[in-house]
């Protein structure tokens, strides 16, 4: 077991990668064998992630040096700097890893019957597993260039999956927009990596953080990295591709795309807090992030109110929710290094991170219910649906859970994180809390409207033959709903177990550097 945990950082990345290339081979033996392979490998990865999480929370940061005699030997003998590729897993990375493990497993389960009628399923699962690899890689890597590589792996497979249903033009368009945005963002990150490498001769984030000076070209690199990651996250004003891509993908993939967007957010936090942690002008960058977050919250929700397409409607809400996380963590960045960090900054960051966890549970759930509606009715237009609660009881119940959670109604988990954000950011600036509450009310209003038009009312004659969705789709949704219920019942335990360590890991830049560079005074 100890050996397994020692090697788990690389295993978590390698198992989905190997499984991805085994999928077409095993797929020749039949779809049952292939589905088993996908589910078993993802379940095993989820098990490893939880084991690693327990270890990281108890024993601190875990590093894994690829190709060296011992995984913890970050700096080879006779050298002053790390030259190998290093994976570095701290509480923040493993927190995102947990989310990704749960959601990818749920998405795979959901896909089993959601795409059962499509051709090219072997390729679908290959790409899905590659996307899982890319996501884990982004979260666990301690190397700036590897971040770029894994980001591209996740984007290429994600783009191909968005365009998976080639029979209509809108999927191709959504996939094309996604891949163009990813390509441009990737090149910006590569350029910034080059700028940093030119000055400090290193690609390792801990080494760079140790020596960084914040010269003019460092500032350019920071700006490039931030713009690239906000673009990939889907923040206003760079959000225009987001609903186009999210609404046309198969619903299981939309759920996973939400988490790749969170992974890009993780990368942005990592850059701000860890890479530039010691030298960054926190107040300026923090305010920029907070204002972007506010804009995102407000624009996302106001656009969502008018949408008639169920997936598009949910995508705009996804944009709006991203704003909460940025506001929470942005306030933490703005007060980084000042006494206010202890009084409310840390709480704001914990709230933001808590909201990431909640959003990662209810948003894929809502996308899955939207996909279930599409699966049964063949349309995404809310105006054409109606009376579906009679036929699809499970979907209706799960949709209600997701709606109550996203609107932040007590006692659901969305409320716990939002109240944590509201209370702490109020002390930074009251306007943040006011916007947050208004956005929350609008969210509830529009979700109620959508629920009414899709599920309530008399049964429509054209949906006479509609049946409840197949069992594996319900299992996929129930996994996420169970997550919501768990967080609702034990918010304090969840915060104490993983969220506070994650927030502290972001703040404590020194520990991240020391894990690679050794104890340097």
């Amino acid at each position: 077991m100890a050996t397994l945990i020692t090697h788990s950082p690389i295993l978590i990345i390698a198992i989905p990668l190997v499984a991805a290339f085994l999928t077409p081979l095993i797929g020749m033996a039949g779809s049952k064998a292939r589905n088993t392979l996908v589910v078993v490998s993802l379940t095993f990865v989820a098990f490893l992630v939880f084991a690693l999480a327990r270890d990281v929370v108890a024993n601190g940061i875990r590093v894994y040096t690829l190709g060296s005699a011992s995984p913890s030997l970050t700096i080879p003998p006779g050298s002053m700097v790390p030259v190998r590729i290093i994976l570095e897993v701290d509480a923040m990375s493993i927190f995102f890893g947990i989310i990704w493990a749960i959601v990818s497993l749920a998405a795979a389960m959901f896909s089993l019957s959601h795409i059962a009628d499509e051709t090219g399923q072997n390729r679908f699962y290959t790409l899905l597993l590659l996307m899982v690899t890319g996501g884990f890689g982004m979260m666990f890597t301690g190397d700036l260039f590897n971040l770029f590589v894994f980001l591209e792996i996740a984007s290429i497979s994600g783009g191909a999956l968005i365009a998976f249903r080639t029979r209509s033009a809108d999927t191709q368009e959504g996939g094309f927009k996604y891949i163009v945005v990813s390509a441009i963002a990737g090149l910006m990150i590569l350029f910034a990596t080059g700028l940093l490498y030119a000055q400090y001769n290193s690609l390792n984030m801990a080494t760079l953080a140790h020596v960084i000076q914040f010269t003019a070209s460092d500032k350019i690199a920071l700006a490039l990295l931030l713009v690239a990651f906000t673009m990939k996250t889907g923040m206003v004003p760079l959000h225009l591709w987001f609903p186009d891509a999210y609404s046309v993908a198969p619903a299981s993939i939309t759920g996973m795309l939400v988490i790749t967007s969170h992974a890009c957010m993780y990368a942005a936090f990592r850059v701000c807090f860890t890479l530039y942690g010691g030298v960054i002008d926190g107040l300026v960058v923090g305010w920029i992030i907070v204002i972007t977050g506010l804009l995102t919250m407000f624009v996302g929700v106001t656009m969502a109110v008018f949408q008639k397409d169920v997936m598009r409607f949910m995508s705009y809400h996804a944009i709006s929710q991203l704003g909460y996380m940025w506001v929470g963590v942005g306030v933490g960045l703005a007060v980084l290094g000042t006494p206010e960090l202890g009084t409310y900054g840390r709480d704001a960051m914990t709230g933001g991170i808590f909201h990431i966890l909640n959003h990662a549970m209810y948003k894929p759930l809502l996308f899955f219910t939207g996909g279930a509606l599409f699966h049964c009715t063949g349309t995404r237009d809310l105006a054409k649906m109606g009376g579906l609660a009679h036929k699809m009881k499970w979907t209706a119940i799960l949709y209600i859970i997701g709606t109550l959670s996203i609107s932040g109604l007590p006692p659901l988990n969305g409320f716990s994180s939002k109240i944590l954000i509201y209370e702490s950011v109020y002390r930074f600036h009251p306007i943040l809390t006011m916007t947050g509450i208004i956005v929350s009310i609008l969210t509830l209003a529009s979700f109620t409207k959508a629920f009414h038009s899709a599920f309530m009312g008399a049964e429509l004659p054209e949906y006479e033959k509609v049946r409840e969705v197949p069992r594996s789709m319900i299992i996929g949704m129930v996994i996420l709903a169970a997550g919501i219920v768990f967080i609702t019942l034990f918010p304090a335990q969840v915060v104490g177990w993983i969220l506070r360590p994650a927030a502290n890991a972001l703040i404590d830049q020194g520990a991240y550097i020391n894990a690679v560079m050794g104890a340097i005074p």
Binding site: E152, D170, F176, A183, I184, L203
Partner: protein, 117 residues
């Protein structure tokens, strides 16, 4: 003079990135957009390779290397990886454009943008 020559690749990279940005923002033809992205990739790759160059350096191959300084190997490795990734991105974008053309019969970004949001 030597200084100008050494900085020349950086100027070229900046020009490539600048032209490609113009293309990406202002051109409506999807194939031209893809060409712009490809050019931008070339610009960034040129920047990386130029970073690693040392005046009169040798190729960084460790067997029977002549005395003197070497060119940095890391940026070259980065560039190779980046080229491979960009080929994949390029191929994927082209397949999607082919599909878009099949469905809409047009390569105009404004015309194919049928969904408004």
């Amino acid at each position: 003079m030597e200084r100008v020559l050494l900085n020349f690749p950086f100027v070229a990279a900046a020009l490539l990135v600048g032209i490609s940005l113009y293309i990406i923002i202002f051109k409506r033809n999807l194939i031209k957009l893809i060409m712009g992205i490809s050019m931008m990739a070339s610009g960034v790759n040129l920047f990386l390779v130029a970073l690693g160059y040392r005046a009169e350096g040798n190729a960084p191959i460790y067997t029977e290397v002549p005395a003197g300084r070497m060119v940095l190997p890391v940026p070259q490795a980065l560039t190779l990886t980046s080229i491979v990734i960009n080929v994949a991105v390029l191929a994927l974008m082209l397949t999607m454009v082919i599909q878009i053309y099949r469905h809409t019969g047009s390569l105009d970004a404004e015309k194919s943008r049928r969904m408004k949001g």
